[in-house]
């Protein structure tokens, strides 16, 4: 174990810090939002040019090596910069999935297109009843002579409004998950595939995808059954940690937006920062930031070393913790801004909304915490039955 950043990691972090500081301004963001843009393809291509989409993907499948650690360094910067572009959900997550199914020819092409930025990928795995459990789905895939017919509705598909290709989970007709779990790669222009919804509350991309009898070729199926479950779980775990790193960036952003504000702003003839109650609030926010970053590292450690069940549990624990304290810390950024905090005219509120969205992605706090708790109890099983 080595907790210092390596030389290469430092370079990635510094380049991400530099790039986001230069490219992402609150004014540009407001413009995009006003124009209804969720993903600016020219920005997206810049991220591709930086090589960020191949990080964490092994060289032998066309990636640039590295691990989720490097993805989190980038995501932290993007979270702090309030980037609209869905790096975690449309680059890290689909790349993780595709890299694991490379016996499939279409996937080989897809991962190259993803890393180059040529095509944009969305992952459609959640449904209204899922709430974090990706096996709780109703979308159905029926075998036909030519291939498959897909019907159902996916929710919270980040990039679903702009994607070229979509990774979709479904249940084989008549089978239950996990045995019947299927993973498809679908062209977004497939007939019968439509979107429903506008975007997410933090103005980032996210819609329903509705599949109405979509006909897919036989090789659209990338994998199925236990294999599909295992690889999806691994990919979702990795993406979940990267998302938590975004949250860390957002917490830091909220702190950095708030500290100078309360130093400047006066009430009752003195600056807000002279009030001890507000000083302590910010001290607490700073403490949460330190612990949130450590929690991400705990999860990274589990990604690197732990068996799948423990890994998923620890990732869930990280997400429960980071979203809970992150929602609190960013909400206090609003509180300390007073009325301005709840307006679109100040950037602090965007961090809070980002945390609300992060909480929803991959299943909320409650689910994550129960998942961790179940694992913790499973570790005690021997004792619980032995006495």
């Amino acid at each position: 174990m080595e907790l210092q950043l390596s030389g290469e990691q430092k370079l990635i972090l510094e380049s991400a810090q530099r790039f986001t500081a230069e490219e992402y301004t609150f004014e540009k963001r407001r413009q995009s939002v006003a124009q209804g843009v969720t993903v600016n393809r020219s920005n997206w291509n810049k991220l591709a040019e930086l090589g960020w989409f191949g990080i964490g993907v092994p060289e032998e499948v066309g990636g640039f090596n590295g691990s989720t650690i490097e993805n989190t360094l980038i995501a932290e910067c993007l979270g702090k910069a309030q980037a609209l572009e869905p790096y975690t959900m449309c680059a890290v997550l689909p790349a993780r999935i595709l890299a694991a199914v490379l016996d499939n020819e279409a996937a080989q092409q897809a991962i190259a297109d993803l890393i180059s930025g040529e095509k944009l990928f969305a992952a459609a795995f959640s449904e209204p009843i899922s709430r974090g459990d990706m096996t709780a789905i109703k979308t159905t895939a029926s075998r036909t002579t030519e291939g498959w017919t897909l019907s159902g509705r996916k929710t919270l598909v980040v990039g679903g409004d702009v994607a070229d290709m979509v990774l979709v989970t479904a249940k084989a007709a008549g089978a239950a998950a996990p045995e019947g779990l299927c993973l498809f790669l679908v062209d977004a222009k497939t007939a019968g595939l439509t979107t429903d919804g506008d975007r997410l509350v933090d103005w980032t991309s996210g819609v329903d995808l509705v599949f109405e009898g979509c006909k897919l070729p036989a090789d659209a199926l990338l994998t199925s059954g236990e294999d599909a479950l295992a690889l999806l779980q691994a990919a979702l775990d990795a993406a979940s940690v990267v998302l938590c790193a975004e949250a860390v960036g957002a917490i830091e952003g909220a702190i950095e937006a708030t500290a100078p504000y309360i130093k400047e702003r006066k009430q009752y003839g003195v600056t807000l920062s002279s009030f001890q109650a507000l000083q302590h609030r910010m001290a607490d926010m700073a403490m949460e930031l330190v612990l949130a970053r450590s929690a991400v590292m705990v999860a990274l450690q589990a990604l690197a070393n732990a068996e799948p069940i423990e890994r998923s549990a620890k990732v869930a624990g990280c997400k429960a913790f980071v979203t809970r304290i992150g929602k609190w810390a960013t909400s206090q950024g609003i509180q300390l801004h007073g009325g301005y905090g709840v307006t679109e005219e100040y950037r602090v509120g965007q961090f809070y909304k980002r945390l609300l969205v992060i909480d929803a992605l991959f299943g909320r706090q409650e689910f994550q915490l129960e998942r961790y708790t179940d694992w913790m109890l499973s570790q005690l099983e021997g004792r619980l039955h032995g006495n």
Partner: protein, 402 residues
């Protein structure tokens, strides 16, 4: 003290329920139950319906149209209206400026303004806060200079709720800059269509535009539209703020409606095949809040029943209820958004605000639009009306003399 059920109150509650069932239009109720704030048309239309029954200004004296209810009856009425989804009436008029007018206004002002408020013809909006005068309200700078029978008003207000819907605006202005800040303030009533007034809506985090800035550029306000004496506006304001805190602070009916809504929706919503509310941590969290809501509601009842005393927090109870009520509302609206699962993260335009969108259909369950708006609104609630930090200063000072 005893807890024998009170049959008169129970009968009154049933009367209110029957009235609501008969008179509250169902589309209005649906909009009222959504998290989006009620807008002008619904607010005034509902006020008109209430006025016909003589119930539109529950806490006003009988001589100005009040129904002579006990405090307990008013509370029951508010609660039933809220639970039924009745639109929120124009608080600026009925709750805030109305009492100031009948308490401190001239006979002409009473005659001119009170009927319009009572009968739902005029929509009043508040002009108190300024960019540099938030919790420290008395630091306001908008000026009014005497010019014959008029004042000339210049300056800016902010955080005017429903600003774009306003007919009339009550506002605080500085009429003397040479004295200590509280002593140079006057209280004016202004027709918002007067030349020189500009209303600029402010977009809130959830996307709505119910807040506004109001700019005053050489606006003429007749001296006759000043409440009470010049430079005494702060006294009237303290009266108004006390009303605001005491009557609207805890919003116990809102807390109860949130509980009801969370229970209902989390019984319907499924996590896999189980109702969401069967998640033990979810249910326990809700139970803890329900217990606290009951304690807050009982505190309100105590104040209603026997005013302020040592055992219920005394003069600090308004601040206590405001702080605790708003913080609990934040936890409850958090939970409400969580109930919506994935759809809790979706953006929905404010269909109360923009009537043109009302017939559009949106992704997700019918109840999802408005939840996030409510959550953001409750975030603001710990800021407006004196930030909760200020409320805690007040409590410490009042109870302990710190």
């Amino acid at each position: 003290m005893n807890f024998e059920p009170d049959s008169a109150d129970q009968r009154f509650r049933e009367e209110v329920r029957a009235f609501l069932k008969a008179e509250l239009p169902s589309d209005m109720a649906a909009r009222g139950r959504s998290g989006f704030l009620s807008e002008r048309d619904d607010a005034l239309a509902w006020q008109k319906i209430l006025a016909k029954k003589g119930w539109s200004v529950a806490h006003w004296p009988v001589e100005y149209g009040g129904p002579r209810w006990t405090a307990r009856q008013r509370y029951i009425f508010d609660e039933e209206c809220y639970l039924a989804g009745a639109p929120v009436t124009n608080i600026g008029g009925i709750g805030l400026v109305g009492p100031v007018i009948y308490t401190f206004g001239s006979p002409e002002q009473k005659e001119r303004f009170l009927p319009g408020i009572r009968d739902g013809n005029t929509f009043w909006v508040q002009g108190f806060s300024e960019p540099s005068a938030g919790s420290d309200l008395a630091a306001l700078r908008t000026s009014a200079v005497r010019d014959g029978d008029d004042y000339i008003v210049n300056g800016q207000k902010i955080w005017t709720s429903h600003g774009k819907f306003g007919d009339w605006n009550f506002l605080l202005v500085r009429t003397d800059t040479t004295v200590k800040k509280q002593a140079g303030i006057s209280f004016l009533l202004l027709d918002i269509k007067t030349p020189g007034v500009t209303v600029r809506p402010i977009q809130s985090l959830e996307g709505s535009h119910h807040l506004a800035e109001v700019f005053y550029d050489n606006v003429r306000v007749p001296v006759a539209n000043r409440i009470g004496e010049e430079n005494k506006g702060w006294d009237y304001t303290k009266f108004l703020l006390f009303n605001e805190r005491a009557f609207y602070g805890a919003e116990a009916p809102a807390l109860k409606r949130y509980l009801q809504k969370i229970k209902h929706l989390s019984s319907l919503e499924r996590a896999g095949s189980e109702p969401l509310i069967r998640r033990p941590t979810f249910a326990t969290r809700l139970a803890e809040m329900e217990i606290e809501v009951a304690a807050i509601d009982m505190t309100v009842s105590r104040v209603i029943a026997h005013g302020l005393d040592d055992r219920n927090g005394g003069a600090a109870v308004g601040s206590i209820l405001k702080a605790r009520g708003t913080e609990l509302a934040q936890r409850l609206t958090d939970m409400l958004v969580e109930v919506a699962g994935d759809y809790g993260a979706y953006y929905y335009p404010d269909t109360n605000d923009e009537a043109s969108l009302r017939n559009q259909s949106f992704a997700g369950p019918e109840y999802a639009p408005g939840l996030m708006a409510e959550l953001v609104y409750r975030r603001a609630a710990s800021i407006y009306g004196g930030a909760n930090e200020v409320q805690r200063n007040i409590v410490a000072k009042m109870l302990f003399g710190f």
